[in-house]
C-alpha cells in the first residue's frame, strides 16, 4: 500500500509525477515546495485554516486554559504492524495533551525529509496522518517541510506540536499522586515496543503482535467528569516503569504494583521472554496510566472498560507514603523487587 501512488486526494497529480522522489528543491520554498503542499499535504489534511496557507495559521478564538505539547517522531521502520510514523505523529501529541486533561484541537506538522525519499512513501505517511487526525478529531493547521542531503537524515522525521483545551475544574499533573490512590492501566502493556522489535533488523520474528497506537482523548474526556483523577500519563518510551518512576519522583510518593494484575498479551510476554526483555519497560502508544482516588477507582475502571481502547483496563497497584521516589512490585511468587528507572534503551540480552 505504501508504494502505490494514491491519486484520490490529489487535485492535479501531473506535477508530482515528474519527481518520484524528494529532491532538495522540495524544501526550498519555491515552486516544488508549493506543489508538494498543494498536491500532497493540503488534499490530505483538508481544512479551512490550512487552506489559507499563511505563514502562520490564525485560529478561532478559544476561551479557557490551553495545553501545548510537542514531540518528534523518528521511528524505524516507518510502517510497522498496527501503525506507522504517521499514526504516531498524530496520536502521540494528541495523547500528551490528553494526559493534562486537554482535548486536542490543532496540530502543526513539520517534516524533515531526506533527499531521495520516495514521494509515494511520503504520501502513504501523510495519508495515515490524515486518517489519524480525523479519528482523533483534530485538524492539522500549519506545517513545514525541509529537505536534507542524502545521507544526512533517516528518510523522514516528523515533528508535531499540538494545542488543546482543558475543561474548567480539571487539574491533573505528575505531582498529583497521593498515598492511598489506586493505579489503573488502560490495557495490555508492551504491544507497541514488541511490534517494533518484530520488524527490527537482526531481531525479526513472525508474530501477530500489533502496535496499540491509538488516540486517548475521548477516553480521557469520558473519565474526567467522574472526578477523582489525580494523574494521567501515557507510558511511551521506557514503558510503565519509567512513567511510574517519574510520577513517584514528582509526587514524592512510593508506588507498589502487583505483577500478577498487570495485563500482558501472552504473545508479547513470549516475545519478551525470547529476547530477555521485561514488558514493564516496553513502550506503549495507545495506553494510559491513571492514578485515581481510591473511592472513585471502581467507577472509573468501569467507564474505561466501555471503550474499545481500554477494554482490558485493570487496577495494578497503589500509591504509598513509604519508599518515596521508588517503584516496587510484588512478584508472581510473592517476593518484592525494585523496578528502577532504566538508564537507556532496554536491549535484548543473552545472559
Amino acid at each position: 500500500m505504501k508504494d502505490e501512488l494514491n491519486f484520490e486526494n490529489w487535485v492535479c497529480p501531473l506535477p508530482l509525477r515528474d519527481y518520484p522522489s524528494i529532491v532538495i528543491g522540495h524544501g526550498g520554498g519555491g515552486q516544488l515546495s508549493n506543489e508538494l503542499v498543494a498536491h500532497l499535504f493540503l488534499p490530505a489534511f483538508q481544512n479551512s485554516v490550512l487552506q489559507n496557507l499563511g505563514d502562520s495559521s490564525v485560529l478561532p478564538e478559544t476561551a479557557g486554559r490551553l495545553a501545548f505539547s510537542t514531540d518528534s517522531y523518528v521511528v524505524r521502520p516507518l510502517f510497522f504492524p498496527g501503525g506507522s510514523i504517521g499514526d504516531l505523529a498524530v496520536n502521540g501529541t494528541v495523547n500528551d495533551l490528553a494526559m493534562s486533561g486537554a482535548r486536542a484541537l490543532y496540530l502543526s506538522a513539520a517534516f524533515i525529509l531526506e533527499e531521495g525519499f520516495p514521494i509515494a512513501t511520503l504520501a502513504g505517511v501523510v495519508d495515515r496522518m490524515a486518517a489519524a487526525a480525523r479519528r482523533a478529531g483534530v485538524v492539522i493547521v500549519t506545517g513545514d517541510t525541509k529537505v536534507v542531503e542524502k545521507g544526512h537524515g533517516d528518510g523522514c522525521y516528523i515533528n508535531t506540536a499540538g494545542i488543546g483545551m482543558i475543561p474548567a475544574g480539571v487539574d491533573i499533573g505528575p505531582a498529583g499522586a497521593r498515598p492511598g490512590d489506586v493505579v489503573i492501566v488502560s490495557g495490555t502493556i508492551g504491544d507497541h515496543g514488541m511490534a517494533i522489535m518484530s520488524v527490527r533488523e537482526g531481531l525479526e520474528f513472525d508474530t501477530v503482535i500489533q502496535s496499540d497506537c491509538a488516540p486517548l482523548g475521548a477516553l480521557v474526556a469520558d473519565i474526567l467528569p467522574l472526578g477523582g483523577v489525580h494523574v494521567l500519563r501515557d507510558p511511551t518510551r521506557g514503558g510503565v516503569a519509567s512513567s511510574l518512576n517519574e510520577i513517584a519522583a514528582s509526587s514524592r510518593v512510593g508506588v507498589i504494583l502487583d505483577e500478577r494484575k498487570i495485563p500482558v498479551e501472552p504473545e508479547v510476554q513470549a516475545a519478551c521472554d525470547l529476547l530477555g526483555m521485561d514488558p514493564i519497560y516496553v513502550a506503549n502508544e495507545g495506553k494510559l496510566l491513571a492514578i485515581v482516588d481510591a473511592g472513585s477507582a471502581d467507577a472509573i475502571l468501569e467507564r474505561m472498560r466501555r471503550h474499545p481502547v481500554a477494554s482490558r483496563a485493570a487496577i495494578i497497584g497503589s500509591i504509598t507514603q513509604h519508599h518515596p521516589g521508588l517503584l516496587v512490585t510484588k512478584t508472581a511468587i510473592g517476593g518484592t523487587r525494585v523496578v528502577p528507572m532504566q538508564l537507556g534503551e532496554q536491549l535484548p540480552r543473552i545472559c
Partner: protein, 376 residues
Amino acid sequence: MKYLNEFRDGELSQKLAHDIRQITTRPWALMEVCGGQTHSIIRNGIDQLLPEEIELIHGPGCPVCVTPLALIDQALAIASQPGVIFCSFGDMLRVPGSTQDLFRVKSEGGDVRVVYSPLDAVTIARQNPDREVVFFGIGFETTAPANAMAVKLARQLGLKNFSMLVSHVLVPPAIEAIMTSPGNRVQAFLAAGHVCSVMGYWQYPPLAEKYRVPIVITGFEPLDVLEGIRRTIVQLESGQFEVENAYERAVTMPGNTVAQQTLAEVFEVTDRAWRGIGVIPKSGWRLREEYRDYDAEHRFHVSDIRTEESSKCHSGEVLQGRLKPNQCPAFGNECTPRRPLGATMVSSEGACAAYYNYGRFLTIAAAPAATSVSAS
C-alpha cells in the same frame, strides 16, 4: 510459552519455599554459578522466600562481568575503526572499558549493531562484502556452539570479511578457582542448567568429591531454582556431596555430543583472564590454529591500548562471593549504575546493580505491612 510458564507458578513456588524452610536447620552458603540464575532470583524475589539461614552467593557466571578488560578495550578499538561493522549481543553494549563503552563508540560514529544470533553477523558479512564484519564472541559453554557454527559457516562460504573476537570462559575451572580461593565460604553449587544442556554434567563428580560440595544442576524459572535449592539443602543437611540433576527436562549426563564435537573442532582450551579475578589456567576457549583466519585478534592489530582497571573497583571479590557489594567502599559513591566502575554494576544480573536497587528500597523506609520482605 509451554514448558516455561508452568515453572513460574506462584502457588507452587510458595509450597516449595515452605518445604525448604521446613528442612533447613543450619546456616548454609550456596553459590548459583549462572548469571541467568542470579537474574531470576533477583527479578522474582526468590531469595526473599528462603529462610534466613540460606545465603545465596552470586557467582561469576556472567560473561558480561568476567570478560577481561583488555579484551573489552580491544573490542572498542576494533569497533572504532572506520569501515568495521561490529556486531554484538545487547548485553555487552554498556560494559565499561578503560575509558569508554560500545555505546559511546556508536555515538561517535562506529557502526555497532545488536544481533540476536551470531549467524546474523555472518549474514551481515555476506550482505556487506566491502566492510569488515566482526562479531564479539563472548559467553560460557552455552553460547560457544553457536559461535563455533558461525565461524564454520563463514569458512564454508569462503567469507573474507568476517572474523570473531573470542572470549569464552568455562564453568568447571571457575568452580575450582572459587573453592581454592582463600576465605571461600561456598558450601554447595547450583550448576548452570543451560551450560549443562550443552556439556552434560560428567565433569562435575570429580569436583563434588574433591571439594566435598553438593553440585545440583539447576534451571532458571522460580520452580527450577527453588527445586535446585531444595535438593541442595537436603544434601547439605544430611552430609552428602553428590552431583544431582534438578533440570531433567533440559539436561542429560552426556549433554549434546554433536555440539561438543563441533566445539572440539573449532576451539581449544587456553588460559583466560577473568575480569576482577585474574588468570584462571585452562579456563577458556580460543579459536584453533586452523581457524586463525577468522580470529579478530589476529586480523586487527590494535596497539596503543592502555588497559587500566579502576583501582577502586572490587568486582572481582564480589564475583567470588568474598565481598558483598554494599561492603565495597565505592558502592553508591563513585560507583553507581549510571557511572559504573566495573561490570557487576552494569550487568542486568550483576550483584552490585541488584544490591544498589534493592538496597535503596530497604534503607529508605520500612516496607509496608502488606508486603512480606525479609532481608537476605
